[in-house]
Every structure is written in C-alpha cells, then in structure tokens.
C-alpha cells in the first residue's frame, strides 16, 4: 500500500493518456458485461428445464397444431406419469403492440401445474384458478409490473390467426405465483397461464394442441420414451417431434443462430484490441521512465519490486477501467428495456440484469487485461541493467 501514492502520481503524470486508456478499457468491459448479460438472459430459463419432462410438437413446425386425441395415446405409454396440452397464446394488451409483452400460455391446468412445483401458489388461489374458466395465474414480476392484484381483470389479444376471435380475451387474476430461485434456478416469473379449455371453447373448438408436455417417471428413459411417442404417430398426418424440455428450449435459443458464439466472439475481439491499446500505453509509459527505473534500482529497489510496480500500475488501470465499465454496463442494462426498437426485443427477457457473477467476471477480465498489458514492459524493466539505462539518457 505504501507504493500506491507513487503509482497514482505516475498515472496522473500523463492524465489524458491514462484517462483514454481507462475509457477504452471501460468500453471493453461494458461491452463484455452487456453481451454476457444478453447471452445469460437468452439462455437463463434453460436452467429450469427438467430432465423428467418431454415436449412433443408437430414434426414439421411449431406453427402446426397436433390433434387432441394424441394425449390419451401418449398417456398410455409405459413410464409416462402425466400429459398436459399447452398452447403459446402470444397475447398482447394492445393489438400488435409488444411494448407490454409478457409470455402467456393456455395450459391444461390440472395436469400442468403438478409437473411444475417451481410455480409456488397458495392453495386457495390454486383452487380459485381451477374453478374459473376465465381465471389465470401470473408471475410475481408481471403482476408487479402492471400493478395487478387478485381479482383484477385484463384483456389480451393474440397475434396468432387461429386465436383471433374478433375481440380480446378477458382474464381474471386468480393467483400470483412466486418461485424459490435457490431450489428452482431459471424459473420465469414473468409468465401467465390460463385454462386451455377457455381458448378451445372461445375459438369454436377448432384449434389443436401446440405442444404436449409429458412427465416421465425415470429421466434416464427420456430418449426411449421420446422415440416411443414419435413412433406412435409415425404413420399419421401429424407426425411428432419429441425431445427433452431442455432440448426444446435450447432449440428456441438456436433459432437466432449460435448467439453465444457470436456475442462471445465480439467480446473477445474487443478485449484483444484493448489489450493491445493498454500494452502500448504501458510500453510508452515504461520507455519514458527508463531513467527513473534506473534510479529506483540504484536506490535499492530490486528488479522484482520494479516489475511489481509496473504490473501494479497496469493492473490499476485495468481495475479502474473495469469499475467504470461495470458501472456503465449496469446503467445501460437497466436502460435497455426503455430504449426504442431494442427495448421491444429485450423486454420479454425474464432475467435482464447485470448479475454479480458477470460483474465479477468483467472485473476479473479487466484486471487480467491490465496485468497482461503490463507484462512485457515489466519484464523488460526487470531484465534491464542500471548502467545501460543510465547510459541511454
């Protein structure tokens, strides 16, 4: 610590260079944090996918529904505990206005809720939901977002043609569910669920089932049972594609391409550039101070200590850049949902926020970049001879 004032004074000597290096580093860490947060948000609810749940959809595309009759046949397979029909409703509060969007599903509640203990709902609210055809349950975050309380009513209109009936669907909030993220990490509390029968009847009993969620007794049998389900409908008009819930959700993420690879690639490229910029700064700073390094060594500073001082200076630059970058990232991530265009895209993410883990990773990366940038100049200072450095003055 007694060398800290010495390090700070050196950084202040060329404050424009120091400030621009810190700024460059902070932009790098800001991008790293923002991109990592985005990847985490996209893949967040993969964590809550259960290996005991299988999802069957139309083999051609999710756009096509499956016949209702499939449920009984799937349920009859050995090893199957339960089957629930679910349909992605795609409802918005105002037609085609996605500013207030939140995920909403029609589900066969009696079968679906027992498969999902992560949705924690008081018993009286569960009963009220089951008894009300127009009833729905909403996650805590969505309820808080719109100020909804038990008994409140609201309307949604779907953008999916078969679910458009010329007027909005009306719902009554019968329950607000929470979760325990320690036990059920990745659980989405922005979602809303309502009775599948309500959708079925309101659309004139013309719709099919978007996906069947199947609970199996033994997760190690997931592949065999998936094959068995698909085998049941091999010769039908509506063949199925069955996979684990994790694979099903990962398929959605991959629709946007290999997002993680792309974003990580961008972050890595930026980091490498900043490494070169910071290394250049440190090299210049060290070259300018050859005489001072010689003087320090003459005064009795060991080569290791001189190397340590340069590395500490470099790491300090990294730490400052990291701290500013994390701050910028935190502000930007908070502001993202309110931005035009991009806000619409990210508002639906259930867990958009700079996590402590990503912030720590960002800070660690900044420190590492700082140390790497200072490595070569510090080694040169370590190896340099006093007499050579004094002679070059």
């Amino acid at each position: 610590m007694k060398f800290l004032p010495y390090i700070l004074k050196h950084l202040r000597r060329s404050w424009v260079r120091t400030a621009s290096t810190v700024l460059a580093m902070s932009v790098c860490i800001f991008l790293f944090c923002t991109l990592r947060t985005f990847v985490e948000a996209v893949t967040w609810n993969l964590q809550s996918a259960k290996s005991s749940l299988l999802v069957s959809r139309h083999a051609v595309s999710l756009v096509f529904n499956l016949p209702l009759a499939y449920k009984e046949r799937i349920a009859a397979l050995p090893g199957v505990r339960g089957v629930a029909a679910t349909n992605w409703f795609g409802g918005t509060r105002r037609p085609n206005d996605f500013k207030d969007f939140f995920p909403n599903f029609a589900v066969q509640v009696e079968d679906y809720l027992p498969m999902h203990p992560e949705f924690i709902l008081p018993e009286d609210q569960r009963r009220a939901f089951l008894e009300d055809r127009r009833g729905c349950i909403v996650g805590r975050r969505t309820a808080e977002r719109f100020g909804w309380k038990i008994g409140d009513t609201f309307q949604l209109e779907s953008f999916i043609p078969p679910y458009r009936i010329g007027k909005p669907f009306e719902f009554v909030v019968r329950g607000i569910f929470d979760t325990d993220l320690a036990r059920f990490p990745g659980t989405d509390t922005t979602a809303m669920f309502f009775q599948w029968k309500y959708l079925y009847e309101a659309t004139g009993q013309r719709i099919g089932v978007g996906t069947y969620v199947t609970e199996i007794a033994d997760p190690s049998q997931a592949t065999a049972i998936s094959r068995a389900i698909d085998g049941l409908f091999d010769n039908s008009d509506a063949q199925t594609k069955t996979e684990t819930e994790a694979a099903f959700r990962a398929g959605f993420v991959s629709l946007a391409g290999n997002l993680a690879l792309l974003l990580n690639g961008i972050a890595l490229a930026v980091m490498f550039t900043i490494l070169l910029v910071t290394a250049n700064t440190m090299s210049m700073a060290t070259r300018e101070r050859r005489t001072e390094i010689a003087v320090l060594k003459t005064l009795g500073f060991s080569s290791g200590r001189v190397m340590g001082l340069i590395l500490a200076e470099s790491a300090f630059l990294g730490a400052c850049g990291g701290a500013v970058g994390i701050l910028l990232g935190s502000v930007m991530i908070r502001a993202l949902p309110s931005l035009p265009i991009i806000g619409d895209a990210v508002r639906g993410f259930p867990n958009l926020g700079l996590s402590a883990m990503i912030a720590a990773l960002g800070f660690g990366a900044a420190l590492l970049l700082g140390l790497l940038a200072g490595f070569v100049p510090s080694v040169l200072a370590y190896r340099s001879r006093i007499t050579d450095m004094l002679r070059q003055v």
């Binding site: 001072e292 060594k297 009795g300 500073f301």
Partner: protein, 225 residues
C-alpha cells in the same frame, strides 16, 4: 580500516566480437571517513569504477569490498538490499522523479524500510533540513533550480544514512555558485557526518575539496596530488 577496497579489478565490455578493457587491474583503498576525488579524461573508466563501488555493476575479475561486503559475491536481490542500506548515489543530472515533490523524492529510499509513514516523513524532512531545503519540501523538481535539485538529490542519498556516498560529477551540470554550495555541502557531510565520499569529477576546483585525488587514465589508476 578501509571502507572501500578494490583488488586487481578488471572490467571488460564486449561489443560483438571485440573486447574493450575499461578498467585494468585497479587496486584502490579508501579509508573510512575519506573524501576521494576520481579524475581523468573522458573514457578513462571513472564512471565504471564508481558504478563498481556503488554495486550497480560487477567486475569481470578481481574483488570489490565496500563497507565490509564483497559486492561481487552478492546476488542481484541481495545487492539491491545492500545498496539501499550502504550506498548513497548522487547523479550528475540529479535524476529526481518529476512527479514527486522534494520530500517525496527524499522519502523514496525509505519505502524499502519498515519505517512508519510518519517516521519516513520525519526523516525525509530532517534530510532536507541538512541540505537547507526544508522550506521547499512540497515543491516539485520543475519548481527548483539546478542547485536546489542537486541538494534534494543529496538529501535522498543520505536519508537512509549510508556509509558511503558516491557522486558522479555532482557539479557537472551546475553554475559556479551552485557548484560551490554543493561542494561545501559534501564537505560538511564528510566532516560532520563522517560519510566516506568517492566523487568523480572533471573539475580541478571540485577535486581540491577532496582529501585525496586519484587519476584514471585508460583504465589504470595513478596517484595524484
């Protein structure tokens, strides 16, 4: 007892395949409390000899004993520790750290000790008082004259209370009046603080202040009056 004892010291530099003998069989003995001036033309090996005594260079052969330590036998880190305790170095161009104030420059060698921040500062101020610059403690080198900068450099050299002071042309970059002040200060350090001083100089007036003068010529030491 000799404070500085050199026996058959040779220093040879290699430039590609060529060998250049800078010092050739130097024998030198400087008693404790002595003030020695090393003189000689450019390229005669004065600074090289001074660097060997200060432990910032190593001889090719021969032995260099300073303050009872065989300098050539120490490892790099042990040599650095030894320098911090035993040697005060005064450069021709002062070589103060420009971003540090006078008192911070003087305090620099004490960062290597276990002294508290308060004690370090007290000692640095005391050293500045010795060189009569306590009132300029908070000034940066750019705010001082050449003579004042050299006095700060001398304060830095003596702050850790080393046994030996080595000075490489300490008046070489100063006007006559400032040079006189510096030489008077060095005399005081030798006389009142009993520092052994080895000074390289071109200036005959400066050498007159020393007790003895030694002349180097083409790497060979000759006694001089």
């Amino acid at each position: 007892m000799a404070m500085v004892e050199l026996q058959q010291v040779r220093r040879v530099y290699r430039r590609d395949t060529q060998e250049i003998t800078v010092l050739d069989g130097i024998d030198l003995s400087v008693p404790e409390g002595e003030f020695v001036a090393l003189m000689g033309p450019s390229g005669s090996g004065k600074t090289t000899l001074l660097n060997l005594i200060a432990g910032i260079d190593r001889p090719t052969s021969g032995s260099v004993r300073v303050a009872g330590t065989d300098v050539a036998q120490l490892s790099e880190s042990a040599l650095a520790r030894w320098r911090s305790r035993s040697i005060g170095f005064i450069f021709q161009f002062y070589n103060l750290i420009p971003v540090l104030t006078a008192v911070e420059n003087v305090e620099l060698p004490l960062l290597l000790t276990r002294l508290s921040r308060k004690d370090r500062r007290e000692r640095a101020v005391t050293a500045l008082k010795v060189v009569k610059l306590a009132d300029r403690a908070s000034h940066y080198p750019r705010q001082l004259s050449g003579g004042q900068e050299q006095r700060v450099a001398i304060a830095r050299a003596i702050v850790a209370d080393p046994k030996v002071l080595v000075a490489d042309e300490p008046t070489g970059d100063l006007d006559a009046r400032s040079a006189e002040e510096i030489l008077a200060l060095m005399e005081t350090l030798n006389r009142e603080f009993h520092k052994t001083i080895v000074m390289v100089t071109h200036d005959p007036r400066a050498s007159q202040r020393a007790h003895t003068q030694k002349h180097l010529d083409k790497g060979v030491l000759r006694e001089g009056a």
